[in-house]
């Protein structure tokens, strides 16, 4: 009988994605630790800015087999996944994947989720800080400016927030900018209407 239950033991003994993302990539780091249990987890993500998706995910950890196994599966799960989708991963998703996760070790899996959210927060923070443009930044999660949203709306005649998100990622994260995007859409279409009315008269 193995020390940990089946799949947990398998990932503990052969953890996937141990290490750091490639040196050339601008690593996005997310760390989480627990004073109560002494575990530390360091996630390192490579994010493809064009596609706004996680190109690679690696981890390093000091902790029990539950932590190692959940980090192993988390990194497998979020690879090639859109940043906005990764942010929506539920806290229990990793535990659910294993099917036989003991409740007294829920904090180990929770630590993984915490590290993921920390990494994504760091990514968004960095995007905001790097923002050097003059025009207003609307979507801080993905660093999308007002100008870029307007351009997308104009070029593709976008009507809804969902269409804007699909076109340029704006609004795909925390969603706090949705009212602003609605304003941009309304402004654009009001202008279009006014212009066409002017052309008719």
């Amino acid at each position: 009988m193995s020390y940990y239950p089946g799949r947990i033991n398998e990932h503990f003994l052969n953890p996937r994605n141990v290490g750091e993302v490639r040196a050339e990539a601008k690593a996005v780091i997310g760390e989480a630790g627990s004073l109560a249990c002494g575990a530390i987890l360091r996630l390192s993500l490579e994010i493809d800015a064009e596609r706004q998706s996680i190109a690679d995910a690696k981890f390093k950890a000091v902790g029990c087999g539950y932590l190692v196994a959940s980090a192993s599966v988390l990194t497998e799960t979020i690879k090639d996944v859109a940043v906005s989708k990764a942010a929506q991963l539920s806290e229990s998703a990793i535990m659910d994947w294993f099917e036989e996760w003991p409740t007294e070790r829920a904090h180990c899996a929770a630590l993984c989720h915490e590290a993921l959210l920390a990494a994504l927060a760091n990514y968004h923070q960095a995007a905001r800080e790097e923002w050097a443009g003059d025009e207003a930044l609307i979507c801080t999660c993905f660093g999308v400016s007002e100008k870029r949203i307007e351009q997308a709306v104009r070029e593709r005649s976008l009507q809804t927030v969902a269409e804007v998100t699909r076109a340029c990622h704006a609004g795909g994260g925390c969603q706090s900018c949705h009212p602003l995007i609605v304003d941009i859409l309304e402004d654009y279409w009001r202008t279009v209407e006014a212009e066409s009315a002017g052309a008719e008269s």
């Binding site: 109560a36 950890a61 007294e104």
Partner: protein, 389 residues
């Protein structure tokens, strides 16, 4: 075939075949009650008394009647301390150390909660006790001093001969020694000592679980713990667990005639030396002077890795050890013993206790040494900490 290597002999030991053979008849045809007057009973009485002699002999007790059988080491420790306190209601002070086994430590914490005053003696970074501090802690109202002989986690030995003299000279306190982890591993000689009470447990040296004994110096007035019939000369009620008592006696005789202690010591030294030499983040917990430790124990921390992970990897390879780091939802209970020794958190977390016994072989030690550097290396590589090579 999967190799199995048992290196957790401080937790418990395998019942020796000699011990099992000695107790087996008492699980079948020899079933009398030692208190019965008939032949069946008298035969049992003789067996119990023979076992008592065997135990007394191993401890070098002055008199066989100084030994009382109990159910385990914890019972012996609890009885010793509570039995003294009950007889000395005017004395409300207890002296003990921060590194005692839970049987003493948790009992003393309870005593503290119920109004006793407890002096907790510190140990240094090697786990050693300062006898001068102990002397200074003694007071006219000190009822009992309770100190272990050998530490279960680190194997560090306390100088009970010297402590006994200090207690006797500077106080009226009764001196209790938790000898559970020492009996069967090092020679014990109570005859010339100042030890008043001495606890031992059978399963730590190849008797089955469920039997222990308490040495009570002749003439010491100890209140009984279990009240009932007049068994054990009125000191501990309850029909004697004859098969287990016979087994304990046999285990004591076996330990007394054992001449492999030097081999155990040699294997422990080999294991310890090789680990400390081969593994960069390994550090010893406990006295560096091995004469101040049990010959079978090596407690080693692997810095920046989690003990449970090391344990699980070794377990996967068939090797049984224990860790001082117990991880659960409520708390990460790092060992109170290592905390008392000021072992840094990052090291205490990765502490592994290797405790050898009479059945371990050189081949087994070589097997463990062939696995360990790789296991620790992989875990260290996974660690986000920078580890100096």
């Amino acid at each position: 075939m999967r190799e199995t290597v048992y290196l957790d002999n401080n937790a418990t030991t395998r019942v020796a075949p000699e011990v099992r053979d000695a107790m087996l008849p008492y699980l079948s045809e020899l079933y009398g009650n030692p208190s019965s007057a008939h032949t069946f009973g008298r035969e049992m009485r003789r067996s119990v008394e023979h076992a008592r002699e065997q135990v007394a002999q191993l401890l070098h007790a002055a008199d066989t009647s100084e030994l009382v059988f109990t159910s385990c080491g914890s019972e012996s420790d609890n009885w010793a301390i509570r039995g003294v306190l009950e007889r000395r209601p005017d004395k409300r002070h207890v002296v003990t150390t921060r590194v005692e086994h839970e049987a003493v430590r948790n009992l003393c914490e309870r005593l503290e909660q119920s109004g006793y005053e407890v002096t907790w003696l510190d140990v240094d970074e090697e786990g050693l006790l300062n006898v001068e501090e102990l002397r200074a802690a003694l007071r006219p109202d000190t009822a009992v001093v309770s100190v272990m002989l050998a530490n279960n986690e680190t194997g560090v030995l306390f100088p009970i001969e010297e402590i006994g003299k200090v207690v006797r000279e500077h106080s009226e306190a009764i001196f209790h020694v938790d000898g559970v982890q020492a009996v069967g591993k090092i020679p014990i000689d109570l005859r010339g000592s100042e030890v008043d009470l001495f606890a031992l447990s059978g399963h730590k040296f190849h008797a089955p679980k469920g039997v222990g004994a308490l040495y009570v110096r002749a003439g010491l007035d100890l209140a009984p713990f279990l009240i009932g019939g007049g068994q054990e000369r009125g000191r501990r009620a309850g029909t004697e667990a004859v098969p287990y008592i016979v087994a304990l006696g046999a285990a004591c005789e076996l330990a007394g005639s054992f001449n492999g202690q030097e081999q155990i010591r040699r294997l422990r030294d080999k294991l310890e030396d090789a680990i400390l030499a081969k593994i960069p983040n390994a550090r010893l917990n406990g006295a560096r002077d091995r004469r101040l430790r049990l010959p079978n124990t090596a407690n080693i921390s692997f810095e920046y890795v989690e003990g449970e992970a090391v344990l699980a990897h070794l377990d996967e390879a068939g090797v049984s050890v224990s860790t001082g780091s117990a991880c659960n939802a409520e708390s990460h209970v790092s060992s109170a013993v290592l905390r008392a020794m000021n072992v840094p958190y990052t090291a205490a977390q990765g502490s592994i206790r290797f405790s050898l016994g009479r059945y371990n072989t050189e081949r087994e030690i070589d097997y463990v040494l062939s696995l360990l550097p790789d296991i620790i290396g992989r875990l260290a590589e996974m660690s986000p900490h920078e580890i100096k090579k």
